[in-house]
C-alpha cells in the first residue's frame, strides 16, 4: 500500500500541492483526477521521488524509504523517450538501469504483444504517436514493478490498443500491484478505476471507492424532460438549483422527497420522462468543486 500523508509543495509562493492525503491499496487501481494544473503531476513526481515534498510523508508498504527502482514503473504524460535511438536500445537501456533479468526475452514478448515486434530496430522518431505510447507503456511495465504510476496512458492509443492496455492493467491488478492512474478524462477513469482521488488547486476534494462516491452523489438529482420544451422555463423550477441540458432540466432535490417533487411536476405539466439522474464522475467533480468555491 502507498500512504500519502499530508504532503505539500510550494513553488514561488504558490501551493502546487496542499496537504494532500490519499491511501492507495494493492490490487486496486486508483485514479488521480483533476483539471490541468490541479497538482496531479506534482503529486506524482513526489510519489516518484523526483521532487521532495516541503512537508508530509509518503510511505510504501509502511516504509518511508522509496522502493528500489525496479519496483516502480512510471509513465509520464508527455513522450519520455529518446527519439534517435532504436526501440530495442531504448528498452535494453532502461532494463539495464532497472536490473531486469531475462531482459531480452521480456522485451521480445512485450513487443510482440503490442504488435511492435517487427519494429524493434526502428528509431523511436520513426514510430507513430500511438506506437510511441505503446513503447512507453512497455518500458513502464517491462520490469514487472510492484508500484505503477500512469499519467494519461491512453493518450494517442487506438481502441484496439486501449483494450490491450486495459487487459494488462486488469492482469496487474489481479497480481496485487498498486496502480495509480492519473487523468483528466473522467469517462476513462470511471471505466478502469476502483478508487479515485479528486484533486483541484492542489487540494484533495474527495477520495475513496469510486462506486461509493457515485452512489453517494446519485440520488439528489432528477432529470425532467417536459413534453413541451417551453416548460423548461416554468416558474416552478425557480425554487431549485437547476441546469438545462438539451430538452431536459436537471433539478437538485436536496433533502426534499423525490416522490413529492415528481408528483408536483406531474400535476403542473405533461412529461416525456422523469428519472433519477445518474451523475457521471465529471458532474460530481464539478459539483464538488463548485460546492467548495461557494
Amino acid at each position: 500500500m502507498i500512504e500519502i500523508g499530508h504532503i505539500s509543495k510550494e513553488y514561488d509562493g504558490i501551493k502546487a500541492v496542499d496537504d494532500l492525503s490519499v491511501n492507495i491499496h494493492p490490487g486496486r487501481i486508483c485514479g488521480f483526477l483533476g483539471p490541468n494544473g490541479a497538482g496531479k503531476t506534482t503529486a506524482i513526481r513526489m510519489l516518484m521521488n523526483i521532487i521532495h515534498p516541503d512537508s508530509g510523508l509518503i510511505k510504501f508498504d509502511g516504509a518511508v524509504t522509496r522502493p528500489p527502482s525496479n519496483q516502480v514503473g512510471y509513465l509520464p504524460e508527455e513522450r519520455g523517450l529518446y527519439q534517435k535511438i532504436s526501440v530495442q536500445e531504448t528498452l535494453e537501456y532502461f532494463a539495464a538501469l532497472r536490473k531486469v533479468k531475462n531482459a531480452q526475452r521480456k522485451i521480445k514478448l512485450n513487443l510482440y504483444r503490442f504488435d511492435l515486434g517487427e519494429r524493434s530496430n526502428s528509431k523511436v522518431n520513426e514510430l507513430s504517436k500511438g506506437n510511441q505510447q505503446k513503447l512507453q507503456f512497455i518500458n513502464t511495465i517491462l520490469h514487472d514493478p510492484q508500484y505503477v504510476v500512469l499519467d494519461e496512458p491512453f493518450s494517442g492509443l487506438d481502441p484496439v490498443n486501449q483494450l490491450i492496455l486495459k487487459e494488462i492493467l486488469e492482469e496487474m491488478k489481479l497480481a496485487g500491484k498498486t496502480i495509480i492512474f492519473s487523468s483528466h478524462q473522467m469517462d476513462q477513469v470511471e471505466k478502469i478505476c476502483d478508487d479515485v482521488a479528486l484533486i483541484n488547486q492542489g487540494k484533495l476534494i474527495t477520495s475513496g471507492k469510486l462506486s461509493e462516491i457515485l452512489k453517494s452523489q446519485a440520488n439528489e438529482r432528477l432529470q425532467v424532460t417536459p413534453l413541451d420544451e417551453i416548460n423548461l422555463k416554468h416558474t416552478y423550477f425557480d425554487g431549485y438549483q437547476t441546469e438545462v441540458r438539451g430538452s431536459s432540466i436537471f433539478l437538485e432535490t436536496g433533502s426534499l422527497s423525490r416522490q413529492k417533487v415528481i408528483a408536483e411536476i406531474n400535476a403542473l405539466f405533461e412529461l416525456k420522462s422523469v428519472r433519477v439522474a445518474d451523475p457521471g464522475l465529471e458532474d460530481i467533480f464539478i459539483r464538488l468543486v463548485k460546492g467548495i468555491q461557494a
Partner: protein, 410 residues
C-alpha cells in the same frame, strides 16, 4: 552501478554516431587537405592573376633595369604576380594619363621613380585601393639591389668587396649539452606542438561540453528526464553523463595523440613524450570536468537549445583567450601575465599545456595548478549539481542569477 550504465550508454550511442566518426577523422583530414591544397595552389600560383602596374621613371635608368630584374625573377612562372609597364618621362606630364588608366581599370596601380631616387631611395605608389603588400616587398628588394649596383659603379667598388659587404647570417641551433645541431623541422615542431596541444584541449573540452548541453536539453525537452529520475538518482544521472561524454573526449584525444606519435616517429620528431602525454590527460580531465559542470548546469535551466547557447556565449569568450594569446605564451612563457593566467582555472589547462610543451614550467607550477584545478572542479561540480537538481524540472520558467545563487547556497 547506474552511473556506469548511464556513462556507457552515453559513450556507446555517440561513439557509433556518424558525426563522431566524421568529426574525429574528418577534422585532421580536412586540415591536412586544406594545407595540401593551399600549398599546391601557392606552388602552382593557381587562382592567381597577373596584376598590371604602370611605372613612370623620371631617372630614365632604374625603370628599364627593374623590368629586366622582374623578368628574371619570374622567368619560371607561368603566371607572374605582377607585370610592370615602364614609361620614361615627367610625372607632372604623365600623371593625368596614368590616373585615367587606373580609373578605367587598365592598370591596378602605378609607381613613380622620382628623379632624385638615387639620393632619397624613395618611390611613390598611386592607386584606388590598397596595393598588395607583397608587391611593395618585391619592388623594395629589387630596387635596393639595383641601387647598390648603381652605387658600386659610382664608387668604383669591386664585386669582391660587394660580396664581402652583403651576406646573410645563419644561426645554427643546438640543445644545451648536445653536439648535434637541430634541424629546421624540429624548430618548427617546437613552435607548432604547443599550439596543437592547446588546440586539442580546446576542441576536446568544448566539444564534450556542447555534447553534455545537448544531452541534457534532449532529455529535458523529451521528458525522458522524468523516467530516468524515477529510476536513478540525480547524482548518478549527472555523473554518468559527465563520465560517458568525458570518455568520448578522451577517446578522441587518444586518437589524435596516437596520430601525433606516429607522425612524429615518421618525421623523426619527438612531439609527445610520456610525461607530456600524461599531463595532457590530467589537464584534459580536470578542464573537462570544470566546464562539464557549467554546461550541465546551463542545460538544466533552459527549454530550448537556442536559449541555452545564448547563455553559454560567455564560456565561448573564455575559450578565445588562449586562442588569442598562445604565441605570447610560446615567446614569453615566464612573463607575469602568462604566470597569472596559468592560475586562473578556466584557462589553466590551455596555458599550462603550452608551457609544458615549450618546456618552460616547474614541478611546483604543475602541481599547484593541478591542485587549484581540482579544488575548482570540486566546487564547480557541487554547485552545478544543485542547479541541475533544482532547475531540471522547472519548465517554462525564466530563472535569474539571484535565484541560481540562492539554489547554490541552499
Amino acid at each position: 552501478m547506474s552511473l556506469l550504465q548511464i556513462a556507457w550508454f552515453e559513450y556507446r550511442r555517440r561513439i557509433r554516431s556518424k558525426w563522431f566518426i566524421i568529426g574525429t577523422f574528418g577534422m585532421p583530414i580536412l586540415i591536412m587537405g586544406i594545407s595540401l591544397v593551399t600549398g599546391f595552389m601557392a606552388d602552382a600560383s593557381a587562382g592567381l592573376e597577373t596584376k598590371q602596374y604602370g611605372l613612370i621613371d623620371e631617372t630614365s635608368y632604374f625603370g628599364k633595369k627593374l623590368s629586366q630584374a622582374l623578368d628574371l625573377r619570374y622567368a619560371d612562372e607561368e603566371t607572374p604576380p605582377l607585370d610592370i609597364a615602364v614609361a620614361e618621362g615627367e610625372f607632372s606630364e604623365l600623371r593625368n594619363q596614368y590616373d585615367m588608366l587606373v580609373t578605367d581599370n587598365f592598370l591596378d596601380a602605378y609607381f613613380v621613380i622620382p628623379a632624385d631616387f638615387r639620393s632619397t631611395a624613395q618611390i611613390r605608389n598611386y592607386s584606388r585601393t590598397s596595393t598588395n603588400i607583397h608587391v611593395y616587398e618585391v619592388l623594395e628588394t629589387e630596387l635596393k639591389d639595383l641601387l647598390i649596383e648603381d652605387k658600386t659603379q659610382q664608387f668604383q667598388l669591386s664585386p669582391e668587396v660587394i660580396e664581402a659587404l652583403f651576406f646573410d647570417i645563419d644561426v645554427t641551433h643546438y640543445d644545451v649539452g648536445a653536439t648535434e645541431k637541430r634541424e629546421q623541422d624540429e624548430l618548427i615542431a617546437d613552435y607548432i606542438a604547443p599550439f596543437i596541444f592547446m588546440f586539442l584541449l580546446l576542441i576536446g573540452i568544448f566539444t564534450g561540453g556542447q555534447l553534455l548541453l545537448r544531452a541534457v536539453l534532449e532529455e529535458r525537452s523529451s521528458r525522458v528526464i522524468e523516467v530516468l529520475l524515477s529510476t536513478v538518482s540525480y547524482n548518478d544521472l549527472m555523473g554518468g553523463k559527465i563520465l560517458g561524454l568525458g570518455l568520448l573526449g578522451l577517446t578522441q584525444s587518444a586518437i589524435y595523440l596516437t596520430l601525433g606519435v606516429v607522425a612524429g616517429h615518421y618525421y623523426d620528431l619527438s612531439l609527445i613524450t610520456p610525461i607530456i602525454g600524461l599531463l595532457y590527460f590530467a589537464y584534459f580531465i580536470l578542464g573537462y570536468l570544470l566546464y562539464a559542470g557549467i554546461y550541465i548546469g546551463v542545460g538544466a535551466l533552459f527549454d530550448s537549445e537556442q536559449e541555452a547557447q545564448q547563455a553559454i556565449q560567455i564560456i565561448t569568450f573564455i575559450a578565445i583567450i588562449p586562442a588569442l594569446l598562445w604565441t605570447l605564451v610560446i615567446e614569453n612563457p615566464n612573463s607575469t601575465l602568462v604566470n597569472v593566467l596559468c592560475y586562473f582555472p578556466p584557462v589553466t589547462p590551455f596555458f599550462m599545456m603550452i608551457k609544458i610543451a615549450v618546456g618552460e614550467t616547474t614541478v611546483f607550477q604543475v602541481m599547484s595548478t593541478l591542485i587549484i584545478l581540482t579544488i575548482s572542479v570540486y566546487g564547480g561540480i557541487r554547485a552545478s549539481a544543485k542547479v541541475f537538481r533544482t532547475g531540471i524540472l522547472l519548465y517554462g520558467k525564466r530563472v535569474n542569477l539571484t535565484e541560481i545563487m540562492r539554489w547554490i547556497k541552499a
